[in-house]
């Protein structure tokens, strides 16, 4: 590829980081090969909790991918010039996140060699079919847009006109990937935690909080590690977006809690009770959820007080709190607790096994590697200009 020359020249620090990621990926791959030969029995999943951290992480990273729209939309539709320098970073982050999503789905399959059956026997009644269509489409859109934009920057020639409509298509498409991902869950009768029309809006606002938070942290890291500066104003504006999205996210969660706890239909209250307090002595998720709540509240204080939010150190801390809080809630709690209690009223605990964690870390490392390489290319092009 014409731009990867920029990724193979770098400092010692750059290469150490790449080697570190490669090692994590190697460990993950080794564990995956073991899972492939032994079966998913290697994981902590069970007959009752039949999806675990793989699918939960998939869900979380669909959100990160969709959140690219939070820089693309203001820049292209509202002419927010400050985002000009980071729009392509958002799109590249989306590419890396979608690749992670596809990998999380892949490692979750019992028969991965048969994955193309989804194309051979397309089944429009299955939301998984639509998720595949929307995720791959989104990957393609963002890959095309970012390559075209970077090429234009490198050669100093304006981007071709046809790319503008492609960018515009990517905006509703971003909303669609996370809506369809919510539809995976919220059309399933009998799974009361998910069977709620507000799931898609919840997914979207939590995405628009977690994704831009990650982008803030990445921009601050880039400033420290390279000569690239996203600009204080761009980072502040991302902070405002995170503030609105996180506030809405907490509001939506409270709406869910009101309906469940005031309405007191046993099926609806039980699953929240399991999340926050545990059922039948199974309290595994309670610490996860309370940590998420605590981090959410702390982040809200830092975000909602303008004087605090404007300080970059505080904003970075808030972004980290938001990201971890949502990662715990959406990347673990929400998916696992959907299976508890089971249709036959059993309370079964789930926790990922060591090999399962290693596979998850391996996929993160692949994501981090992609982001590193993509951002390295972008920054090198800009430094050369």
């Amino acid at each position: 590829m014409f731009m990867f020359d920029k990724a193979i020249v770098g400092s010692r620090r750059y290469w150490s980081w790449i080697v570190f990621l490669a090692l994590v990926i190697a460990v993950g791959l080794a564990c995956y090969l073991r899972q492939l030969s032994y079966g998913l029995g290697l994981t902590g999943m069970s007959r009752d909790v039949s999806w675990g951290i793989y699918i939960a992480q998939f869900t979380f990273f669909v959100g990160v991918a969709a959140s690219a729209v939070m820089v693309v939309l203001p820049y292209y539709l509202h002419d927010v010039k400050q985002f000009g320098r980071i729009t392509v970073l958002g799109e590249l982050l989306a590419v890396a996140a979608v690749v992670m999503c596809l990998l999380f789905i892949f490692v979750d399959m019992g028969q991965p060699a048969r994955v193309l059956n989804v194309l051979l026997y397309p089944t429009p009644t299955s939301m998984m079919f639509w998720d595949m269509v929307s995720l791959n489409g989104y990957l393609l859109l963002n890959a095309v847009i970012s390559v075209v934009m970077l090429k234009a920057e490198r050669t100093g020639v304006p981007a071709p006109h046809w790319v503008k409509p492609v960018v515009l298509v990517s905006i509703p498409w971003a909303v669609s990937i996370h809506t369809v991902t919510a539809f995976l869950y919220n059309g399933l009768p009998g799974r009361s935690l998910w069977y709620t029309a507000i799931l898609a809006p919840r997914f979207l606002v939590s995405a628009f909080a977690s994704g831009p938070s990650l982008l803030i942290l990445l921009c601050l890291a880039l400033r420290r590690l390279t000569r690239f500066d996203a600009g204080q104003e761009a980072i502040r504006r991302l902070g405002v977006i995170v503030t609105y999205a996180m506030t809405l996210n907490v509001f939506f969660l409270l709406l869910e809690l009101f309906t469940a706890l005031y309405g007191r239909v046993p099926e609806h209250t039980e699953t929240f009770q399991y999340l926050f307090f545990g059922l039948d002595g199974h309290t595994g998720l309670a610490p996860v959820m309370w940590a998420s709540v605590l981090l959410a509240l702390v982040s809200l204080v830092m975000l909602l007080v303008p004087g605090l939010r404007r300080r970059e150190g505080v904003l970075a801390a808030a972004a980290l709190c938001v990201f971890v809080s949502l990662w715990l809630e959406k990347g673990m709690g929400l998916i696992v607790a959907g299976f508890v209690p089971s249709p036959l009223e059993h309370v079964t605990s789930y926790s990922p096994t060591a090999p399962e964690w290693a596979i998850v870390l391996g996929i993160w490392a692949i994501g981090a590697l992609l982001v590193t390489v993509f951002f390295k290319i972008t920054v090198s092009i800009r430094e050369a200009n």
């Binding site: 069970s46 007959r47 019992g110 989804v118």
Partner: protein, 258 residues
């Protein structure tokens, strides 16, 4: 089946319409009070709809597990040591787990022995709706919810989509855990989902399901719900029977006499 690019694009375009239309049609159908039972009340149709009645009082008489053992032998069901990753086609559960909304402090004493549960072979099965490869489907001519172990990709979406907990996943290779392999029925591989098939392989040669045949108390009545003169319809005419979670609109074909 070979799919050309043109076909694929056609499917892609058409399916957007189909998904919406399907949803609308389904909601229209479920607007009729209890679609499943009204279908069963129609005069004898050309197509069958296999169903089962479980007479719980008869079942409790001997409290045996003959049906479970017969099924295990007929279908090479493995005995997985890890209880969290068991394979179950027909098994027993306490009353309050099978009918969680039907118990009160006063009725809790009424059922001390567990009830038999199995796949409900629903009229509108949630598992079939969500499967991304049609590896599980509803057979048109007799209503059995089938499984293709060779097409299943092991995504386990059907397990999330089944509100009855009727499906099991092969977390490990099941073959070492089958005591004696019965050559009449295929063993499965790791990484696929399986469940009760109403003994479609026995029905095909005119036999009753293995569990029904094995039941010493004649507590299981199997037959065609679409045939007014069938034994199962006679039982359903004479006794009041309930289904599990009828409010979900899936229309289970398994009925319980309590």
């Amino acid at each position: 089946m070979k799919i050309t690019r043109k076909d694929f694009l056609k499917i892609l375009g058409g399916s957007a319409v189909a998904a919406t239309a399907g949803t609308l049609a389904r909601s229209a159908a479920s607007a009729e009070p209890n679609a499943a039972t009204s279908k069963a009340a129609e005069p004898k149709a050309a197509v069958k709809r296999w169903g089962m009645v479980i007479d719980t009082s008869k079942c409790r008489e001997s409290g045996c597990d003959d049906c479970i053992r017969a099924c295990r032998v007929a279908h090479n069901i493995p005995q997985i040591p890890n209880p969290k990753q068991e394979i179950k086609w027909i098994w027993k559960e306490p009353f309050e787990n099978v009918f969680p909304m039907q118990q009160t402090d006063y009725t809790r004493q009424a059922f001390k022995t567990p009830l038999t549960v199995l796949c409900n072979h629903c009229a509108d099965p949630g598992c079939v709706r969500v499967c991304p490869t049609k590896a599980t489907w509803k057979r048109e001519d007799d209503g059995i919810v089938m499984m293709d172990y060779h097409r299943c990709i092991g995504c386990r979406y059907c397990m999330a989509g089944c509100p009855y907990g009727s499906r099991s996943f092969n977390f490990v290779d099941p073959r070492p855990y089958v005591a004696e392999i019965n050559p009449e029925y295929p063993t499965r591989t790791k990484g696929v989902v399986e469940k009760c098939n109403f003994c479609e392989e026995r029905l095909a040669v005119g036999k009753q399901p293995a569990c029904v045949e094995a039941c010493r108390d004649k507590a299981l009545v199997f037959g065609d719900l679409n045939d007014e003169n069938s034994g199962i319809r006679q039982v359903l005419r004479e006794r009041f029977a309930v289904q599990r979670k009828p409010e979900l609109g899936f229309g289970p074909a398994v009925f319980y006499l309590l």
